[in-house]
């Protein structure tokens, strides 16, 4: 029987001990003496969140297919466990072997959102790995970061030995082989990092040095080690049909955020919304074969015993085999008590029909993401959705029996004016009015329209990377304009309005486009007790403000300052395929409210064609 790292007295006195015991179905156990590399793969958030992440399941599966590697999982101990581990001086351990992370060769940390940065420091500290890469010795694990936030790794640069930029399936094997070779040749940690820096897609932050202008902006960012390239190239898998996919993902004992089979149907998005980072990072759009997906669905349901399956992609409606796949899932699995969870699809006759088959129409709600209230604003962000589309879609849904609709908007978008904000309320009202246009006998009581706004955060590698943000106060003012507009409307009973927190938005803005100097703010905030900042119940803004003060870093520099078109950005050394020239062109078109067609309608020459595949080459073979 496996020995647990924590004694009963601890496990019985904390919330959900199952977070820390491992041993789940499909988790992998190996003999440590039979492997060459121990890899601790960490999602720096709660177990239930981390276990729901497809990316880590893919890497876990991929690493463990190698005979010479044992990959295990690590998640952030929740605040109750954090306290106990500090008091009793228990080092952080990996779930499978229950052995300290400190003993591992690698600690890989995925960076999915900015507000997990203090959790990264918690992981390092509880593992007893020095926080700064420069303080680590030969016996410490190599700390590697990846995921979407690694596309601007600079705020975390000092805490990581290296970053993997792009999709994990391409050069991890090369990296692990290089590690084995270096160890065999008795090379030092530094020598290994030099080897790693020569692998495409690997960024070793210690080998680069930023210099700044007097105004604080970046003047140069150059390699200071001959092994480090000037530019780091994003990694992409061009053929999604020939890459690993976890057919037996780990099944947690406790209910995870996503307690179901996740079928990734494609990567990338053809739409080109100007605020969306994923839409640019994961270009070009690449589909997975529908026949292959059918076999995956079957195998994964059998291997996990999950009672639900869902599709994953940035924009499922653009997947060419969607009808065939959904029809297959319904016919094959619905009779066997499997729920089919459809992603938010564009509303049309097919999607409504499919939704009617798989959900209880009267209980479920439909989600639309117009993102902006006015047509002008939607053109600025290149949403490519007209008011007619929205009202027609809602109308069809109401006629199909739905009466609950959720609408998602953003506030604080570039060029936003007061009338754009008020249009959020007006558009929601027009959706509600559309409900009362259907015959009374077809209605199911009142309709419920819930509009939510989040505040826009400009992200690197988007056309809006030049945009200025607002102060937290200004965000709240804008939300109250929307709220007032809602309350001045005649129909208040069937309309509801929610908005997100403004303080977190500002912090996200600092980290998203931050540079290396932001690292010390994160470290200071962590020292002041910040942890689990993405959780409302554990987020505290005051220590963050104190951390800015203590370190002398001005948050406004990163959020409010207008950025010049020629400014060198901290993330410019990364090449994602999409060119800065294209992003500039898009930023200028946004200012004029000119829409850019999607990739299938017309190629706009973004630069992603250099990867030689996907949507860029559709119909060109």
């Amino acid at each position: 029987m496996r020995k647990l790292a924590l004694p009963d007295e601890i496990l019985l006195n904390i919330e959900k001990p199952a977070r820390y015991i491992g041993g789940e179905v499909n988790s992998v156990t190996k003999d440590p003496d039979e492997v060459d590399i121990r890899f601790a793969m960490c999602f720096p958030d709660l177990y239930e969140i981390g276990m729901s992440h497809l990316g880590l399941q893919i890497l876990y599966d991929m690493f463990n297919r190698r005979k010479d590697v044992w990959c295990e999982r690590v998640y952030s101990p929740w605040v109750d466990m954090d306290k106990v581990m500090r008091e009793k001086r228990i080092p952080l351990f990996a779930l499978e072997s229950q052995e300290p992370v400190r003993k591992f060769d690698f600690l890989g940390i995925t960076l999915q959102y900015e507000m997990c940065y203090t959790n990264v420091l918690q992981i390092l500290e509880l593992s007893r790995i020095p926080l700064h890469s420069s303080d680590r010795g030969e016996a410490d694990p190599i700390v590697i970061g990846g995921g979407p936030c690694a596309y601007n790794p600079e705020p975390l640069a000092e805490f990581f030995d290296l970053f993997y930029i792009g999709e994990g399936e391409t050069v991890y094997d090369a990296l692990l082989d290089a590690y084995k070779q270096c160890r065999h040749d008795k090379k030092s940690r530094l020598e290994f990092l030099e080897c790693a820096a020569e692998i495409e897609g690997i960024y070793v932050p210690g080998f680069y040095e930023p210099e700044y202008h007097e105004d604080g902006t970046l003047s140069s960012f150059c390699p200071i080690n001959p092994h480090a390239p000037a530019k780091v190239k994003k990694q992409v898998v061009m053929d999604l049909n020939r890459t690993v996919y976890p057919l037996s993902p780990v099944v947690p004992y406790i209910k995870a955020a996503q307690d179901r089979v996740v079928l990734e149907i494609q990567r990338g998005c053809i739409r080109g919304c100007r605020f969306c980072q994923a839409g640019m990072l994961y270009r070009p759009t690449r589909e997975r074969d529908v026949e292959l997906l059918k076999t995956y669905a079957k195998a994964m349901l059998e291997n996990t015993g999950h009672e639900e399956i869902c599709l994953s992609s940035l924009s499922s409606s653009d997947y060419s085999g969607l009808q065939e796949l959904i029809t297959f899932l319904i016919e094959e699995f619905q009779g066997r008590g499997i729920n089919i969870s459809l992603p938010s699809l564009r509303i049309d006759a097919f999607s409504l029909d499919a939704m009617q088959k798989v959900q209880d129409v009267r209980k479920s709600s439909l989600t639309f993401a117009p993102e902006a209230g006015s047509q002008r604003m939607r053109d600025v962000i290149n949403k490519g959705l007209s008011e007619e589309d929205i009202l027609d879609g809602a109308g069809q849904a109401f006629e199909g029996g739905w009466s609950k609709v959720k609408l998602y908007f953003m506030l604080g978008l570039p060029t936003e004016r007061e009338e754009d904000m008020k249009e959020i309320a007006a558009l929601s009202d027009r959706v509600a009015r559309r409900y009362y246009e259907i015959p009374k006998e077809c209605r199911h009581g009142k309709c419920q329209i819930t509009a939510s706004t989040s505040f826009f955060v400009p992200k690197p590698f988007t056309p809006f990377q030049w945009a200025s943000m607002c102060t937290a106060r200004e965000y709240v003012r804008r939300a109250s304009i929307v709220k007032l507009a809602f309350s001045e409307q005649l129909n208040r009973k069937s309309l509801k309005y929610n908005w997100h927190d403004a303080e977190v938005t500002v912090l996200e803005g600092v980290f998203a486009r931050g540079d290396r100097r932001v690292g010390k703010v994160i470290e200071e905030a962590y020292r002041l007790g910040c942890l689990f900042d993405s959780w409302t119940e554990t987020f505290h803004n005051e220590p963050w403000m104190k951390a800015f003060e203590n370190t002398g870093v001005d948050p406004d520099f990163y959020t409010l300052r207008p950025r010049g078109m020629e400014e060198l950005f901290p993330w410019d050394f990364i090449e994602i395929g999409v060119s800065k020239e294209f992003l500039k062109k898009e930023w200028n078109r946004a200012a004029k409210g000119v829409v850019t067609p999607n990739c299938r309608k017309q190629c706009s020459g973004c630069g992603a064609a250099i990867f030689q595949g996907g949507v860029c080459y559709e119909g060109k073979n």
Binding site: M1, R2, L4, D8, L11, L12, P17, A18, I21, G22, G23, E24, V25, V251, Y253, I254, K255, L301, E302, N303, T304, G305, H306, E307, G337, N339, Q359, D360, K363
Partner: protein, 273 residues
């Protein structure tokens, strides 16, 4: 066709709560492709009912749940298939057909449960075994054992003596047969803390392990509740047994049958031909 499944829960699985054990078995059923019946509707769920839930921290050799099968499967094959896909710490012991009557399933018939409470003290492991016999006899010999039972809403003094059917020293601890089920239920923790207090045992230096051994139903049919019979007593057997009377071993214990013994193995279809 109704089936009762008996399983063991041990090792790290003792930290998995009742609701998660249920979810876990739902997934085991699917992985093992057991032809279980579903409810109808938009989100059909498996027809499954668990006997007395086991608290977090306890291990068990005798956990039960009842299911409804859509088609028959042999006991041997079902046990084999389920164990092939179960996590370590969860082991199916038997898979037996039970009577169709509604009243015979799950929680409704549980009457008693056996526990083994380990009491380990580093310095002197034999201390308990040597001194327990007399203390237990004296403990049980009391006219009543009043304890304060805390519920969500109130505190209440109850006499737990009638709910202790059997108690004796065993290995490094105590063996218990206690009333269990939805009507009269006694947790082993409550007995042990009362006992420690009675015998003047300082529980601070002791490492406890809690293990359920088995669950039982009454052998004889129930008497129908009558107006003059108070509710908690309506599940008493008709035979003239007074639980809680007498020494270590109660008459009640004689009248119990394990939940497993109420079912019968399903032979494979080939054997019937």
């Amino acid at each position: 066709m109704k089936v009762r499944i008996k399983f063991r829960k041990y090792g790290a699985l003792r930290f998995i709560g009742h609701l998660d054990v249920m979810r876990c078995f739902q997934k085991v059923m699917r992985r093992a492709q057991i032809p279980i019946a579903f409810t109808s509707g938009y989100s059909p769920h498996m027809i499954m009912s668990f006997a007395s839930p086991l608290g977090i921290g306890l291990t068990s050799d005798g956990e039960y749940f009842d299911i409804e099968l859509a088609e028959s499967i042999s006991s041997k094959e079902a046990v084999c298939r389920m164990n092939a896909v179960s996590p370590e710490g969860m082991e199916v012991v038997s898979f037996r057909q039970i009577a169709e009557e509604k009243k015979m399933t799950g929680m409704a018939i549980v009457a008693a449960a056996d526990y083994l409470v380990g009491m380990h003290r580093k310095e002197d492991p034999k201390y308990f075994r040597n001194s327990f016999h007399d203390s237990i006899a004296a403990f049980l010999g009391q006219p009543g054992i009043p304890v304060i039972k805390q519920t969500k809403r109130s505190e209440q003094e109850v006499d737990i003596r009638p709910l202790i059917y059997q108690m004796e020293p065993k290995e490094e601890g105590v063996y218990l047969k206690l009333a269990a089920g939805s009507v009269r239920n006694l947790k082993p923790e409550l007995v042990i803390s009362a006992f420690c207090e009675f015998a003047g045992i300082d529980s601070e230096g002791i490492r406890f392990t809690w293990h359920r051994l088995e669950m039982y139903a009454w052998k004889t049919p129930f008497i129908k509740p009558s107006p003059d019979c108070p509710a908690p007593e309506d599940r008493m057997p008709c035979s003239n047994v007074e639980p809680g009377s007498g020494g270590e071993k109660d008459g009640a214990a004689e009248n119990l049958i394990t939940l497993e013994d109420l079912g019968e193995d399903i032979e494979s279809r080939e054997n019937h031909d």
